[in-house]
Symmetry: C2
Subunit: 386 residues, 2 copies
Amino acid sequence: MRRVAVVGAGMTRFAEHFDLGIKDLLPMAVAECERSVDKGFDRADIQAAWFGELSTTDGFPAGILADSCGLEDVPVTRVENACATGNDALRNATFAVASGAVDVALVVGGDKVRESSTRSTFWEWAGMTRDTAWDYPLGLVAPANFALHVRRYLHESPATREHMAMVAVKNHKHAVSNPKAQLRFEITVEQVLNAPMVVEPFGLFDCTPQSDGAAALLVVGEEVADRYTDNPVWVRGVGLGLDRVMHQHKPDMTTFPATVRAARQAMAMAGITPADIDVAEVHDCFTGVELISYEDLGFADRFGAHKLVEDGVTSVGGRLPVNPSGGLKGKGHPPGATGVAQCVELFEQLRGTAANQVDGARIGLAHNIGGPTAVSAVSILSTDRG
Amino acid sequence: MRRVAVVGAGMTRFAEHFDLGIKDLLPMAVAECERSVDKGFDRADIQAAWFGELSTTDGFPAGILADSCGLEDVPVTRVENACATGNDALRNATFAVASGAVDVALVVGGDKVRESSTRSTFWEWAGMTRDTAWDYPLGLVAPANFALHVRRYLHESPATREHMAMVAVKNHKHAVSNPKAQLRFEITVEQVLNAPMVVEPFGLFDCTPQSDGAAALLVVGEEVADRYTDNPVWVRGVGLGLDRVMHQHKPDMTTFPATVRAARQAMAMAGITPADIDVAEVHDCFTGVELISYEDLGFADRFGAHKLVEDGVTSVGGRLPVNPSGGLKGKGHPPGATGVAQCVELFEQLRGTAANQVDGARIGLAHNIGGPTAVSAVSILSTDRG
């Protein structure tokens, strides 16, 4: 299989961009991606694009991306896979480049979640991220559906709400030094525990904010990578895993089988084990989800995730920093953009230019778990060609 | 690039399936695809799936496909590209198989357009197939936006409403012998011309019906094809083209640049010219669109499309039969399924088993043009490995 490199990466700030629409955010991310390409870059080089968007704010997604970014004559595929959309967009672009059909591909993720100028997208989003006939009428939208998982996890494992709070504290702390992050302030365990309850066991500070934003990656075949940079980052593995949509079909609420499957695929493709990961961006839409994901990704033994936060293993400075960007919790979560932005962070980490740099990082992992806890996508990037 | 074969193909009847939901239609199509595999087939062989769906009736599309079809542990990517969704789903699966990352892939397209048990999807669909801020408030939904193109085409070319009617008559005639078609009755030019006007120049019989349905293809790498059949059909070319979304940005309304681009890509990949095509499924959402597409696909000279229908060239029995299945006009048009179903028809045509068989067909082309006339996807299938 032809090797695939990331040679450029950029993103907007994640925020409540009440003054910007998706047509503003997408070109901002693409322009920053363009500026990041060491040896310069002409948009006419782009042969195909993949666009991850969940909420379809302003109309026909593929065309809105192409038009707003001036991508004349570039075919764009919109990929939608709930909150795993961003990493699945990269996965599909990777296949196209690996096949040899495309040499230079653009991957963009974006979402405009806060009030849109044209219409509300809430119902559409709700429909696209769960079963509308069964789970939705039962109220199993996020965060309620994730809360079922985490409540059971707290019951079965030694983890407590304090451990969840430590995840929030860590990710907020990481976000402070990231100029792209939405919530750039530190919080304390006490603040998390005393915050208003959203749905047990999630208080306000256990939940990701709602965010608008976009992110972009330039992905190329190995023969052309040196046209753009002498310092590429390699896409070593991509994985996508599914689980049953409806919660009555999930026999064990304390694990996300979709993540286990996606990680297994991506690591097999990369030829690595969890112990090889130096830095990870993990889908912390709710604090407890980061804990469960440590176990599903193979970073911790079953029901041992709490020890990683207790011991500072997953803080920057620890053995395996998780969410140095601030994660969804601190950086923000425009769903279509999130997975792409995780890879933007890894690109910078692996090139040594991240805002919150992990020393000597050579292999990074990005992870999404989607809406009804039924889909996960994992990408593995590395400084080594493999 | 690794060669890619289609070894199975199946579809539901296209119809107003008031008694069936998307969760019924998808497994029906997959089961028929499974039955079509000459040497038998185990669903556990499927390593990844691509799902083209536009209207998202029942919730999280990727998971609904996996759950309703019993695809445990199969990663599913939902692709959405307006009415070009189906052929773009095949394109993405083709890249994944061609890359070597996937040996056996399932491509499914489906849509439930008529009243859903859970909610209306009309607004969502409208949003996803045009610009909601500009074209949509002007009323430029289908069929009005296509009508602008065809009206100008009638003004500039020698084609008349009679020629458009001849397209409808031809495709209805083809549909009669196709048990999967929705409108299995013949009509006359007079009936078309005298039918109630929908939007000038489209009368009722110039328009595709609204349809529910699903279609599926089994797509595999060349090394494993003979595990499934001695008679594979090869995916020789895939192409995707875009054009500007908003109609004020389209300088020439008498052509669809998206189609020209998609066809150019697919034919270059296949190493063929339009003259090599033996049979084609062309996106006849409105009769005049089939005429314009003859020119964009290179089947006719500019403004010469009307001669093809006048001379019977594109009827079964002619030199280049177009829409032997009945096309969108006669067979029906569940948008996500349409492109996949076109390839189901080509699979049968190229294996000599079609309901309305084109003698000796060796190379077939499938073509979609999407919502705001801003996206087209083209696939080229062949009996020759290439």
